[in-house]
Assembly symmetry: D3
Homo-oligomer: 305 residues x 6
Amino acid sequence: MVNTKRTRDLLTRSTNLDVNSIVDELRSLRNASLESRQRHNRPPKLPSRKILVGVAEGLSASLFPNRLGSSELADEGIDHYVGHMLNVTLRELMVQIQHELHYNSGMEVLSDEDRQQSVDITRAFAKRLPKVRTLLESDIIAAYEGDPAARNVDEVLVCYPGIMAITHYRLAHELHNLGVPLIARMISEIAHSVTGIEIHPGAQISGSFFIDHGTGVVIGETAIIGKNVRLYQAVTLGAKRFPVDENGALVKGNVRHPIVEDDVVIYAGATILGRITIGSGSTIGGNVWLTHSVPPRSNISQPQS
Amino acid sequence: MVNTKRTRDLLTRSTNLDVNSIVDELRSLRNASLESRQRHNRPPKLPSRKILVGVAEGLSASLFPNRLGSSELADEGIDHYVGHMLNVTLRELMVQIQHELHYNSGMEVLSDEDRQQSVDITRAFAKRLPKVRTLLESDIIAAYEGDPAARNVDEVLVCYPGIMAITHYRLAHELHNLGVPLIARMISEIAHSVTGIEIHPGAQISGSFFIDHGTGVVIGETAIIGKNVRLYQAVTLGAKRFPVDENGALVKGNVRHPIVEDDVVIYAGATILGRITIGSGSTIGGNVWLTHSVPPRSNISQPQS
Amino acid sequence: MVNTKRTRDLLTRSTNLDVNSIVDELRSLRNASLESRQRHNRPPKLPSRKILVGVAEGLSASLFPNRLGSSELADEGIDHYVGHMLNVTLRELMVQIQHELHYNSGMEVLSDEDRQQSVDITRAFAKRLPKVRTLLESDIIAAYEGDPAARNVDEVLVCYPGIMAITHYRLAHELHNLGVPLIARMISEIAHSVTGIEIHPGAQISGSFFIDHGTGVVIGETAIIGKNVRLYQAVTLGAKRFPVDENGALVKGNVRHPIVEDDVVIYAGATILGRITIGSGSTIGGNVWLTHSVPPRSNISQPQS
Amino acid sequence: MVNTKRTRDLLTRSTNLDVNSIVDELRSLRNASLESRQRHNRPPKLPSRKILVGVAEGLSASLFPNRLGSSELADEGIDHYVGHMLNVTLRELMVQIQHELHYNSGMEVLSDEDRQQSVDITRAFAKRLPKVRTLLESDIIAAYEGDPAARNVDEVLVCYPGIMAITHYRLAHELHNLGVPLIARMISEIAHSVTGIEIHPGAQISGSFFIDHGTGVVIGETAIIGKNVRLYQAVTLGAKRFPVDENGALVKGNVRHPIVEDDVVIYAGATILGRITIGSGSTIGGNVWLTHSVPPRSNISQPQS
Amino acid sequence: MVNTKRTRDLLTRSTNLDVNSIVDELRSLRNASLESRQRHNRPPKLPSRKILVGVAEGLSASLFPNRLGSSELADEGIDHYVGHMLNVTLRELMVQIQHELHYNSGMEVLSDEDRQQSVDITRAFAKRLPKVRTLLESDIIAAYEGDPAARNVDEVLVCYPGIMAITHYRLAHELHNLGVPLIARMISEIAHSVTGIEIHPGAQISGSFFIDHGTGVVIGETAIIGKNVRLYQAVTLGAKRFPVDENGALVKGNVRHPIVEDDVVIYAGATILGRITIGSGSTIGGNVWLTHSVPPRSNISQPQS
Amino acid sequence: MVNTKRTRDLLTRSTNLDVNSIVDELRSLRNASLESRQRHNRPPKLPSRKILVGVAEGLSASLFPNRLGSSELADEGIDHYVGHMLNVTLRELMVQIQHELHYNSGMEVLSDEDRQQSVDITRAFAKRLPKVRTLLESDIIAAYEGDPAARNVDEVLVCYPGIMAITHYRLAHELHNLGVPLIARMISEIAHSVTGIEIHPGAQISGSFFIDHGTGVVIGETAIIGKNVRLYQAVTLGAKRFPVDENGALVKGNVRHPIVEDDVVIYAGATILGRITIGSGSTIGGNVWLTHSVPPRSNISQPQS
C-alpha cells in the first residue's frame, strides 16, 4: 500500500525531533568543557542529594524516635528501631563520604586510605550524635520559651521550620569539622530549600538557639553565635565585602562574618555584615543595617518613617 | 584457616561503628528528657505532617476538581470523584484530629468524648467547605485582576504560590477555630515550606485577598485583614514586642498584630508591627517600617536613596 | 437482633459526615462559577505541574548527565542515556504543550494545526538546548569565581540553589519565547518553590549570571540583565507601579522592569523598581531602594544606622 | 599525566561491553523480522498487561467494595467509591480497547469509527456488570457449600484462588463476546499466572461454578459448562486433536472442547478431551482419561493400582 | 455559541457510560445479598492479603536475616535488624488478628477480650518462632541432600519454591493452632499463588520435609506427615469423598486425609486419597492412584505403557 | 499520679511481646547453624531475586522494544532506548555476577580476578543476545502456528505464558553455560513462579519450541530437546531415579533426563523419565508414563477408561 506508506513517512518526518543531532552537539559541549578544565578523564561521582535527604531524615528519627521516627513504635521496640536506623543510615552516609573523598582525590579508584578514612569519619560522627541531641534539646526549649504562640515542646519539634534548619545545621556542622564539607553543604541546602533558612555548616552556634519564622535568614561560613540567641526572618549575618588578590581573584577562606555574643535578639530583616561583634545581651531592631561592632547590652533600631 | 579468620576480625573491627553504645547514650538522653519534663509515660503520638500534606491536597482537589484534581475526569464522574475524595480525606483528617485531642488530654487512651469530639469537628469542618470555596474564588479573581502578567483565572489557580498559601490558610483557619490549632499550624507550615509565605491560622482574612510573589511574607496570629487587600513579597504583619510577666516569662495569646482595613496595598518588604490599624484604601510603600496607625487613604513611602 | 441493629444505626448516624450534601453544594458553586465566567462547557485540561517537574529534571539530566543524571553511567552509555532522556522528556513536554495550545484555543478538541504546532515548538526548543547548556556553563563558572566558599565547579552545579533557579529559568525562557508562556511560568514556579528565587520566564538574562543565597529574589517579566551580573538574596528587580486604563483595569504587558547592564553587583535586599537603567560596572549596596537610573560605575549604598 | 590516562583507557576498555554493536545487531534483527512479516510500518501498540491488572482489580473492587475494595470505607462513602472506581476503571479499559481495535485495523491512526466503537463496547460491558455480580455470587455460595474447610462466604471471596480465576473469567468472557478477544485473553492470563487456573474467555460457564485447589486446571475456548459444576485441581477440558487443512495448517476456530452438563463433579487430574458430552449429574473420578460422551448420572473412575 | 454547545452535548452523550445507573444496580444487589444472608449490618473488615504478604516476608527475614533480609547488613546490625523487623511485623500481624477475631465475634466493635486475645495470640506465636526456624533448617538440609542439582544450602534457601511453600506453611500452621485459621489460610494461599504448592495450614508435618519442583502439590487439612518425607510435583494428599449429613450438607471438619509415615518418597503425580496410612520407608511411584493403606517399606508403582 | 503510672505499666506489660528474648534465641540458632556448617565467618551476599526480576524484564524489553518495552517509544528513539536499557541492565547483571563469583570463592573480599571475570561473563553474555532473539523469534512463530486460538504473533508475545518461560530459559541457559548457574537458576525460577513452567537452565533446547498452557511442565537439567517440539501442560521430562554412592549420598551431575528429537509432540500430563530417546516425529499421548526409548514416528497413547 504505497499510499499508506507515504502517509506514514510524512507523519514520521513531521514528528521527528532530530534528537540524534542534539545528542551529538551535547557530546561536543561536554567534551569541550572537560577539555577546558584540563580534565582528561571522567570525574568520580559526587554525593547524591537524594540519598542525603534520607540520611538526614534517618538521623533525625534516630535522635527523636517518638516524634520524628515511626509513630507506630511500641516502647519495647524503640531501641531496636534506633539501632536499626543508625545502622542503615550511617552506612549510607559512609558511602556518600567515600564519594566525596574519592572525588577530592582525583584518582581513578578509591584508595584504601580513603576507604578507611570514610569509616573513621563515620564512626567519629556517630560518637557526636548524643552531643548533637543535647544541643537540639536546648534549642527546642528556647523555641518553646521564645514564642508566645508555642503551646508545648513537642509542637515545636514537629512544626517549626527553625528547628528543622538547626537540626540539619548541627548534623552538617559535625560533618564539616570532620572533613567532608561538600556533604555538609548539601545537607544544609536540603533544609534551606524546605525552610528558606540558610546556615553555612562552617558557622559556630552554641546552644539554645532560636530562629522564628525564618524565611530569608542567611548565616555565613565564619559566623560565631553565642548561647541563647534569637533571630527572626530575613536576618543576614554576612560578609561585608570580598577581598581580591593581586590578580583580582577572590581570596577564599578568611574570617569575614559577625560574632554574635550570648543572649542577643535580632529582629526581622536586620543585615549585619563583616567581622564585627554584637555584644552580649544586645537587641538589634528590624531592618537595621549594621557594619560596626556594638558593645554589650546595645539597643539598635532603625529610624521610623 | 586461622589467617583468614584474623583478617576478618580486623576488617570487622575496623568497620564497626559502635552503634550499640550510641543507642545506649541516646536512650539515657531520652529518659532524662522525659524526666526533666516530669513525664512518666510515653506521650501519645502527634498528627502526621506527611498525612496532612495528603489531606490538604485532597481537600483542594475536592474544591477544584477540574483544575487541582484528577485531570482525567469525565463530566459524569466529577461528583463521584468529589464525594470519594471527601469521604477518604475527611476520615483521614478525623484520625489526625483524634491524635491532637488525645495528645492534649494527656490520658493513656483516647476517651469516648474525644472520639465523638473528633467526629463533631470533622463534620463541622466539612460544612464549612462551600464557604471556603466561595472565599477562594474571590481570591483567585483578585489575583487575576491584580497582576498584569496573569492571563486567565485558571492559570492563577495552578501557578500562583500566593493562591496555594491562601488555600492552606483558609482550610487551616477553620480547623483553628474548631479547636485543633496544632493541625491547623501544620497545614499552614506545609504551604510555608513550599511558598515561603507564612500565614498563622489564627489570622482573620476577608475575601479577595492577593499575595504576589510572596516569598518572605509573615502574617501573625492576631492580624485582621479586610476585603480586597494586596500584599507583595517580604511583607511582615508582626508583633512589635513580646510583653513578659513578673517572672520574665512571655505573656502568651494577647492581641499583638496589625489590623489592615479594606482595599489596602502593601508593597514588598514593608514591615508593619504591633496592634495598629492601616486605614482603608491606604498604600504602604516598599521597605516601609511602620509601627503606628495610619488613617484611611494614607500613602506611606520610604525616602529614596 | 433489634438491639444491635439500633446500636449500629446510632453509631452510623453519629459518624456520618453528610458528605452528600457537601457534594451538592460544591456542584452548585462549580456551576455558578462556570456560569459567571460565561463558560458553557468544561474547559480543557491545563498542563500538569507534576509532569513538568519531571520534564525539568529530565532536561537538566540531559544537559549534565554525569552530574545531574544517573550516577551509575559508564562512559559507553552516556550518549544512549542522553538520547533516551531526550526522547522521553521531549515527548512528555510535547503533550503538555498540546494541553496549553488546546486550552488557549477554547475548542472542543485539539485541532490538527495545534497538534502540528506542538511538534514544531518542541523541535525548535530541542534545537535550543545546546545554546542553553553553553549559557549555563558560563553561569556555573561565574558562581565558582564569585563565591569564596565554592571549592570547584561540580559542587556549584549540585549544591547552589541559584544554579537550579537559573537552569529552570533558561529552559522556561526558551519556551516562553516559543509561545507557551503558561508552561514556562510553571517551570519557573517549580524552581521558585524549591529555592525561593523567582525569575519570570520573560526576563532577558545574558551569560555568567550568578545569584548567591537567593531566597527572596524577584526578577520581573520585562527585566533585562547584561553579562556577568551578580545578585544576592532578597534583591527585587520590580515594577514601580501598575498603570491602569480609563476603566481602572490594569494595563497588561508593557515594559516596566529595570535594565541591568554588564558587570553589575547588587547586594542583599536591594529593591530596584521601574524601567530604569543600572549602568555597567555599578555596585548597588544592600537594602538600597532605587527607582531612578544610575550611570556606569555608580556605587550606591544606604546610609548606616 | 600520561600514566593515569593510560590506566584509565585500559580500565575503560576492560569494562566496555560493546553495547553499540549489540544495538546494531538487534536493530538488524528487528528490521528483518518486520520485513519477513511484510510489515512496512511499525505496528500500533498493544493493550498493556500492567494496566489490565489494575482494571481487573478495579472492577472486582466495584463489584465487592466491602471485601475487595478499600477496607476503610464508611457506609456513606460506598456509592461514591463504587462510582469513582467505575469511572476511572472503565475509562482506562476504554483506552485499552482503543489499542486493540487500532491494532486490528492496521491503520496509521485510530479511526473515528473505532473510537466510537470503543465507547460502545465499554458502555455495553458496563451494563453487563450487575449480571456478572449475580453470577459471581452464585459461584461464591457454591464454593462455600462445596468445601468442608470453608467457614463462611466472605472467607471464600478473599481466600480462594478458584474465585479469583472465575471472577477474571466472567469479566473476560463479556469482553470476548463484545469483540475484544485479546484484552479478554490478557485478563484471563493474569488470573492464570496467579492461580495456575487457565480458563479461556471463550468458554461458556453457567452459575454456581466451583473450582477447588485449582492449580493446573485448563478449560478450552469452546467448552460449555452447565450449572452447579465442581472441578478439582489439574482437570483438563481440552481438544482431542487439531485438524489441519490440505496445506497442513491448523484449522482455527472450530468447536473442539467438551460439554459438561449441570451438576457434574470432576475430580483431580481428570483429562476430558474433544467435543463430547458429560451427562448431567455425572461424577468423573480422579486421573480419569475420557474421550467419549457419557450419559447422565454416570460414575466413571480409574482402576486402582 | 449554540453550535459548539450542541456539539459538546453530542460528544458528551456519546462518551457517557451511564455509570450512575450501574452504581444503582450494584447497590441493590449488595443490599439483596446482605438481606439473603440475614445480615442487617455491614460486616467488620477481614484481614488484608496485601498486609499479610508483608508480614510473611518480614517473618522470613527475621528468621534468616542474612539470606532473606536486607543484604546490606553489617554484623553489628543484625540483632537490631531482627528486633526491629519483629517489632514491626508482629504488631502488623496483631492488627490482622484483631480483624479476624472481630469478624468472628459478629459484634459492632472489637471487644476488650478480643483485643487482649490478639495480644496473647501474637505473643504465643512469637515464642514459637525459634522452633519454626529449627524445623525450617532441617527442611533446607533435606532439600540440599535430596536434590542432585543443589550446590549448597544457601542456594536452596533463596531459590527453591518448595522451601518458600514450607516456610509459609510452618508459620501458618502455628497461627492455625492458635485460633486464627483465616489468617493462616491466607498466608498459605500467598505461597500457593507463587509456587503452585498448596499446603493446608491444618496439616501436621514433621521436620526434614522436602518438596521438589512442586507445582500442583495439594496437601489437605487433616494430613499427617512424618519426618524425612520427600514429595515431587503434582502429588495430591487428598480426601476420598465428602460425606454428607441427612440433609445432603457436607459434614465439615472430620479426619479425611492420608497419614504418611517417616522416610517416605512420593513421586510426581501420585494421588493418595482418604484416611489411609503409607507405612514408613515406602516409595510411591509417579502417577500412582492410591486409596488404601500400604505397609512399611512398600514399593508401589504404576504399570508402564 | 501513681494510679495512671500503674495503669500504664499494666497496659505496657500486657502488650509487651518479649521480642528481646526471641531476638536472643534466634541469634543462638544462627550461630549454631554457622557452627555446624563449619563457617566461621558471615558468608558473602547472594544474588538478589528482586534485582534479577528487573534484569530479566530489561533484557526482554531490549530484545522486543516495541512489544515488551516502553509503549510510548517513537521510531527515532528505539535505538537509544535499547542502548540505554542494555547499559543499565547489563551493569546490574554484572554486579549480581560478582556476588555469585564472590560467594563461590569463599574469600573475604571480591578478588580482582573475579571482578575481571564478571566483566568477561557479562560481555560474552551480551554478545549472545542477538542469537537468543533469533531463537525466540522461531519460538514465537511456532506458538502462532501451533495454537488454533492464536490470532497473530504479537498476541503470542504478550500473552502466552509459554513464551515468557522460554524467554527466561534462553537467557538463563546462556548464563548457565558462562559459569553462573545460581543466577541462571534464579532467573528460571522467576518464570516458574509466574507461569508454573519449570525449565532447568542446563537443559538444551533447539528453536521453534512451543509449550501450550504450560502449568506443571518440568524439564530437567540434562534434557535435550530438538527443533520444532511441542509440549502441553503438566508434561514432565524427568529423572527416573537418583543413584547414590557407597555412602548413600546422591551422585550429583550425571546425565539422567530424556532426549527428545525434532518434531515431537507430547500431550498434557505425559511423564517421561530417564535418559531415554523419543525418536523424531513421535507423538506421545496425554498422561502417558514412559521410561523407555521409542523409535522415530512412534505414536504412544494410554489405554482409555
